[in-house]
Amino acid sequence: MSIDMAQFHQVFFEESFEGLDIMESGLLNLDMGDVDSEVINTIFRAAHSIKGGSGTFGFSAVSNYTHVMETLLDEMRDGRRQVTQSAVDVLLGSVDCLREMLSAIQDENEIDEVSVAEHKKALEIELNGKQANSQVADVEISEQAANEITAIPNDSSESVWKISFCPHADLLKTGNDPVRMFRELSELGDLEVIVDLQGVPPLFDLDPEECHLSWTLILKGDVPREEIDDIFDWVEDECDLSIQVLNPLEEPVNVQQPEPSSVVDQAIPVVSLATENPANSEPKQDIPVVAKPAKSEEKKAKAAASTSIRVDTGKIDTLINMVGELVITQSMLSLVGEKFTSDKIDQLKNGLVQLERHTRELQESVMNIRMLPISFVFSRFPRLVHDLSSKLDKKIELKLVGEHTEVDKTVVELISDPLVHLVRNSLDHGIEMPADRIAAGKPEMGTITLEAYHRGGNIVIEVKDDGKGLNKDFLRNKAIEKGLLDPDAVLTDKQCYELIFMAGFSTAEKVTDVSGRGVGMDVVRRNIQSLGGNIEITSNLGFGSTISINLPLTLAILDGQSIAVGDETFIVPLGSIVESIKISDKMVNRVAGKGETFRLRDEYLPIVRIHNVFNVESAKATKLTEGLLVVVDGQGVRCGLFVDDLLGQQQVVIKSLEANYRRVEGVSSATILGDGSVALILDIPGLVRLSNQ
C-alpha cells in the first residue's frame, strides 16, 4: 500500500512557513544578555518539526540543512554555547535560506545550491567556533565554503554500517513504520535486514499495535553517517539504536550480534514475517488515511487556487450554533405556515423578526471567518526594522500596538506592501542618525510605532515615528524645483504634506537601495485608494510624523443608504454620508451663474445634481427645494448630492461591474437589491469629477 504523500505537501509547507515565522520572531526577541530558555526551546521545536517533516516528505536538502541549525540551537539550549549576536545573525540568515528552499520546492523550482551551501557553511563555522565574530570574515569563508562543499561528497569512501535497531513496544503507536525507514535506508546503499524474533510473544498475548521485533541492518555503500542518523531521527527516543562502522573488508555476516545462532536459525521466517509485519503496521496507517480523504481533497482543491485560510475553531462553533438557531426558526415558521389562521399573525411576525436577526448574525459570523488579525502583516516588520536599522547604522525600536485588530483577509493581503513602503520611508527619511538625535536632545534610540485600531466601520493603521518630521518649506521647494508645483501656488499644511504622494517626488539627497527614487508613495496612495481607503499625514517638524491609513473593514459588504432619483435607485456608502438636509433657496449660491454651492455651517459645498450628472429623465425633483441634499465626504471631497428621496439603509453585497462590463465614471460597483434588480453604488470623488466636466 502506498500513500500519495504529495497530498500533504501543502499542509507541510504551510506549517513550515509558520514555523519559520516563529523562529524568526523568536530569534529577534532573543536578548543577548539574559537569554530566555523558553524562547530558545520554541525556536528549537520549530526547527525540529521542519526537519522532521521535510525528512518524511523526502526533502532531504531541507532536512540536512535544518539538522545543522538544530545542532547549533541544541547547544544553545543546553547552555553549552553563548548566544551571540553573530550566531543569531547566522541563524536569521538560515531562516531566510530555508524559506527560499521551501518556496523553491513548493514552486517546483531548483534549489539554489550555492547559496544553501554558503549558509550551511556559515552555520557549521559558527557551530565549530573556528572564526572570529566579524561578519566580513563570515562572508569570505562562506564563499570558500561554497567551493569546498561541492568537493565534499567525493571524499567519503565505500563503507559498511552495522545498525542494531531495537524499537520499544510502542513505536508503531507513534505512527512510525520501520518498513518505511528500511526502504529509505535501502535507497542509500546495499541493505541487508536481519530480523530478531525473540521478543515476539505467543499469538494469544500478541497485541497487534505493539512492536516486538528488533532488527540488525547491514548497510553497504557510500553513505555518510548523518544520512543514517536522519532516517532514525524520529525514533531515536523510542528505540535502542547503535550504529557502528565495520571494516569494509570483513564479511558482515561474521560480525553479528552475540547470539548469531538465533539469527541464522530464524533467517528463513524473515520472509513470512516481513509480510506479517506490514499487516501489523498497516492498520495503524490506514486510520489516518481513511479519516482524511475529505479533508485532504479539500486542501488540495484550495491549493489549486493557492489560497487557504486558517480559522479559529471558536468562530466555526459560533457559526454552527447560529445555523442551529436558524433551523429552529425555520421549523417554527413552517409550523405556523402549515395551518395559518389570521390569529397567528403575531406568531408569524415574531418568527420573521427572529429570522431577520439570525440571518444578520449569520452574515456577521461568516464575514468574521474572513477576518484575520493584523499581526499577520505586522509580524514581518520586526525583522525588516532589525535588518534595515543595522544597514543604516540607526538605532530603532519598533513598537506594535493593536496587533489583534481583525481585518478582512483581502485587506491583509493588499495592505502589506504599502505598509512596508511606509515603514522603510520612516526608517530612512524619518528617523535621524543617532548622533543627530542626541544633538537634537532626543533619545538615541528612535521609535517607530505601528498601530491598528477600529474607528467606526473602518480600520485605522498608523505608522508613527519620532524622527525629524516633514519640512513644509523644503517639500514645497522640492516640488517647485522638480516642476511638479506652480511656484505661486498657495498650499495648506495638509496639501504640502500630500506633495510626497506625487509621482516623481523625492526628497532624498541621493538614491539609496532603501528609498529615494520617488516612486512609491504615489503607488502606496493608489493601492490604498483602490481598497476604498484613504491616507493622511500629520507631521510636527522636529518631533516626527504620523501616517494614518483608513480602510474599510471588509471589501465584500458595505453599509449603504439607498436613494431614489426618478425611477432609479442608487446606493451611497453609509460611511461617506455626513448628513441629509432639506435646503431652502436662501442657502444656495451660484458661482458664475452655474456652479451651485450651498453653505453648510462655515463651509461652502458644491451641489451635485444626480439627475443631471446621470441624465435621469424621470427625476421628480428638479428644483432644489423639492428634493433632499445628502452631504457626503468621500476621500476628502465634500459635496451635497441632490436626490429625490432617501429610501432606506441596508447592507449590500458588492458586485464588480468590471467583471463583465467596464468601469463607469461616478460608479464604484454594483449590488443586487432585495427584488433581484441591480443598483449602482456611487463613487463620490468620481461623481464630483463628473459634475465638474
Binding site: 446621470f614 465614471e665 441591480v678
Partner: protein
C-alpha cells in the same frame, strides 16, 4: 485497413471543419454566432440603466448573482429601434477577452435555428466601403439559399471605450 483509417480521418477533418452557428434575426436580416459561445437564451427583462454610456448599452441585469451588461444589437448596428415585447429575446454570450471570461447579453428579435456550416464555405464579407461597417463580421455563409451573417463574438463583446479605460490605467 489503411484505406479505412484514411476515410475516417477525412470524415474527422470534415467534422472538425464544420462549425455550428446559432442564427437569430434582426428585422429582415439573419445573423449567426458560434454556438459554443452561447451560454443561454432568455426573454427580455427590464434592465438597470447605466448612466452616460452609448444608447445601445441598455444597462445591466442580475444573472444569478453576476452583473451582466445587455447590448441592443439593433442599435449597435444602427438599425431601426423596435419596441421590446414578450417575444424579444436576449442571447447571453460568453467568451474569453484579455484572459478574463466575459458574459454579455444581446437583445435580438428572435432566435431561429442552429446551422452546421462548413468552415471552408464561409466567405469573407465584401468591402462596402464606408457605407457599412464590417468590423464585427466574421464572414458570410449560405444556408438554404439564405444569407447568414456570421458575427465575431470577441469583437462584439469588446465595448467601445474599453480601450480608453485601459489606456487610462496605463497612464495613471
Amino acid at each position: 485497413m489503411t484505406q479505412e483509417t484514411d476515410t475516417q480521418e477525412v470524415e474527422g477533418t470534415k467534422l472538425e471543419n464544420s462549425v455550428q452557428f446559432l442564427s437569430f434575426t434582426l428585422g429582415e436580416e439573419e445573423y449567426g454566432v458560434d454556438i459554443l459561445s452561447v451560454q443561454e437564451i432568455r426573454s427580455w427583462e427590464p434592465v438597470s440603466r447605466i448612466p452616460n454610456v452609448p444608447s445601445y448599452e441598455k444597462g445591466v441585469v442580475n444573472l444569478r448573482g453576476a452583473i451582466v451588461p445587455i447590448i441592443d444589437l439593433r442599435e449597435r448596428f444602427n438599425l431601426q429601434h423596435s419596441e421590446y415585447t414578450n417575444l424579444t429575446v436576449v442571447v447571453v454570450l460568453q467568451t474569453i477577452l484579455q484572459g478574463r471570461s466575459r458574459t454579455m447579453g444581446l437583445v435580438v428579435d428572435s432566435v431561429s435555428d442552429v446551422n452546421n456550416i462548413d468552415a471552408q464555405l464561409i466567405q469573407s464579407a465584401p468591402d462596402f466601403g464606408t457605407k457599412v461597417s464590417t468590423e464585427f463580421i466574421r464572414g458570410l455563409a449560405l444556408v438554404d439559399e439564405r444569407m447568414l451573417i456570421l458575427l465575431d463574438v470577441k469583437k462584439l463583446l469588446k465595448l467601445d471605450g474599453e480601450d480608453d479605460a485601459e489606456e487610462d490605467d496605463d497612464e495613471s
